[in-house]
Symmetry: C2
C-alpha cells in the first residue's frame, strides 16, 4: 500500500510503498477513502513536534470503509478516565502511531463512528481534529447558549470554521477576525454577522463600539493580541484558548479578568464522549464541513504547501482511494 | 455619632461628628459594634479608587445590633440578577454610600445576616468582603473537592487566610506562599501542609518537585509570577484570580493552558446567595476568622498604617461601641 511517512528532520516526508497493516484483536482493517490535513502535520513535516518517530505514516483525520460501512476515525488514543483533561498516555492518531495518509489503516473498533449520511466522505474526513476541538471549546468549556454573541479569531482555519458553523447552528450570533478581508466575506456567506481585520491597529475599536462585548470568544492565537480579547469580553464571558500561533500572552490586566468575572478556558481536542457528541451534533444540525481544496495522495506536497502558507478557507483534503 | 469620613484627595480621612442616619422604608438602624479594614479602605484613603465622594463614611465590613439581635452586614449593594457576574449598578458598602466605620448605620433589612453563635462580634466583623471573595473563588469558581491540593498565594491577607481555612474545612490539602517565613509558619499552625517564600528565585522549584502539581490555585497578585502558577497547575486545574497587587500578567505560555486544559477564573466578591452560603459554611464548620489586631475607632490611623505596611496576618478590626 501507499503511505506518506516521516523520514526524520532532514528528509522530512516521503510517499512510500508499505506493507499492508496487520490487524490485532479488536481492530478492523479500514480501506481509507479520504483524509484531511492539520497544522500538526505541517509541524511534523518540519520536525517541530515532540516525540517524532521515523517511518510513521502521518495523518490524524480520516474516513474509510470496513465491513461494508463508511466510518470516521476518532483520532484520540487513550484519552484517559477524566472528562476534564487527557491522561498521561494520550496521543493523537498519526504520530507516534500510524495515521490516515495511507491506503489502509488498522483501527480499534471502538474508535470508529458511522459517517453522517448528509455529507460526502471528503467532508467527513474534514471533521475529526478540528470538529472535536471546536465542539469541546464551544459547548463543554464555554457552555454556549442560543442568542449569545461569539467572537471567533483567525477564521479560515479548521477549528475556527467549525466553531463558526456550530455556534450558528446553536442559534448564536457570530463575528470573526482574519488577516484577510476576503475570508471575512466568506464567513459572512456562512452566516457570520461581521468581522474585523486583526492586522489593522485598533481592529477591536469598531467591534467594541458596535457590539459592546462578547459572551464567548474562541481563540487559537494567544500572543500580544490576547489582551484585546480580554477587553472585548463582556462581564461573565468565557474565552476558550485552543492554540498559540501568535506566541506568549502578554500584558493582560488582572483587574479586567476579576471585575468582569471572566473565564479563560484552555481546551484542545476532546474526550471520546465529546467526539461522539460532536458527530451526532453534525448529523442533527446537518452541518457541512467547508472544504478548501482536494488533492490526491500523490499531490501531497501541494496540499502541505497550501496549508503552510495559510491560504486556505476550510479543510484541505487528500483522497486516498 | 462618630464616623471616619473621606475628605478628598488632599485631606484624606477625618474622624468626624455626624448626624445619626435617618432610616428609610425597609431599613433598620444598626448600632455598630465592630468593623474590619480591607485594602480597599487604604486605597480610598490615598484617593486611589474610582468614583470617590467626599463626606462618605468608609468601611465595608461590619457587625452591629438591631432589634435585640447581632447581625453581619452583607456589603453587596445591587449585585444584580445574574449569579455569574455583578450588574452595572453594583457597588460595595463604604463608598459611594456610607459604610461601617461609624457608630450607627442604616441598612436594608434584606442585607443583614445573623451572626454565627460560635464567634465574637470582632471575628464576625472580619468576615464579609474577604470571606465572600474566598468562598466564591474556592467553591463557586474552582469547585474545590475534598482531598484536592490547593495553593494559596500571599498568605496573611484576608482573602488568602479565609481561602486557607475554608479549603482545610472542606478536607483539601493546602500549601501557601508568602514574602515572610513567619507567615508560612503561622499558616502551618492553622493546618497548611507547607509553603514557599515567593521572594526567592525559583521559589516554585521545590513545590513542583515535592507536590507535583496543584488542582486549585487561589491568587490575588497576578504580575510576572503568574506564569509560575500556570506551571504549578496540574492537568485540569482551576486557578482563581481575585486581585492584581503585582500588576499585569506577563509571558504566559498558551500551550500550557490548553494542553493542561486549565481554567483561569476571574472572581471578586460574590452574589447575595454566595454571601448567605458563606456565613452558613462558617457556622457549619465552626470557622474562626483570624484577627491580627484590634483598634478603637479613635486609633484608626494605627490600623490603616498597619494594613498599608502589609504586616498583618489576619484581619485588622476596629471596635465601635
Amino acid at each position: 500500500m501507499d503511505g506518506l511517512v516521516y523520514r526524520g528532520v532532514k528528509a522530512s516526508l516521503e510517499l512510500a510503498k508499505l506493507d499492508r497493516p496487520k490487524i490485532r484483536d479488536g481492530e478492523v482493517l479500514m480501506t481509507m477513502q479520504a483524509a484531511a490535513l492539520n497544522h500538526r502535520d505541517v509541524w511534523i513535516a518540519k520536525g517541530l513536534y515532540p516525540n517524532l518517530r521515523e517511518g510513521i505514516v502521518l495523518g490524524s483525520d480520516g474516513v474509510g470503509t470496513a465491513d461494508g460501512g463508511v466510518y470516521i476515525i476518532n483520532p484520540n488514543q487513550e484519552w484517559g478516565l477524566q472528562e476534564a483533561y487527557s491522561g498521561p498516555g494520550y496521543t493523537i492518531l498519526g504520530m507516534p502511531n500510524h495515521g490516515t495518509f495511507a491506503t489502509y489503516l488498522a483501527v480499534p473498533r471502538h474508535r470508529i463512528v458511522e459517517k453522517p449520511s448528509h455529507i460526502s466522505t471528503e467532508e467527513a474526513a474534514a471533521l475529526p481534529l478540528a470538529g472535536l476541538t471546536a465542539y469541546r471549546a464551544l459547548f463543554k468549556k464555554c457552555q454556549l447558549s442560543a442568542n449569545e454573541k461569539v467572537l471567533i479569531t483567525g477564521i479560515g482555519g479548521g477549528v475556527a470554521l467549525f466553531a463558526c458553523q456550530f455556534a450558528l447552528a446553536k442559534g448564536a450570533q457570530v463575528w470573526v477576525t482574519s488577516g484577510s478581508a476576503q475570508k471575512i466575506d466568506q464567513a459572512k456567506l456562512l452566516g457570520a454577522s461581521g468581522g474585523a481585520i486583526y492586522k489593522e491597529t485598533d481592529w477591536d475599536r469598531d467591534l467594541k463600539k458596535n457590539i459592546g462585548g462578547f459572551d464567548v470568544i474562541i481563540d487559537g492565537a494567544a500572543g500580544p493580541g490576547f489582551a484585546k480579547l480580554i477587553s472585548l469580553a463582556r462581564p461573565g464571558a468565557r474565552i476558550a484558548l485552543y492554540g498559540g500561533t501568535a506566541g506568549e500572552i502578554k500584558q493582560v490586566s488582572p483587574q479586567k479578568i476579576f471585575w468582569k468575572q471572566l473565564q479563560i478556558l484552555g481546551s484542545t481536542m476532546g474526550s471520546d464522549k465529546d467526539f461522539s457528541e460532536m458527530v451526532a451534533f453534525v448529523s442533527e444540525y446537518k452541518i457541512r464541513p467547508v472544504i478548501d481544496a482536494t488533492f490526491t495522495l500523490s499531490s501531497w506536497q501541494s496540499a502541505f504547501e497550501r496549508m503552510d502558507r495559510s491560504e486556505q478557507f476550510g479543510k484541505i483534503v487528500l483522497t486516498l482511494d
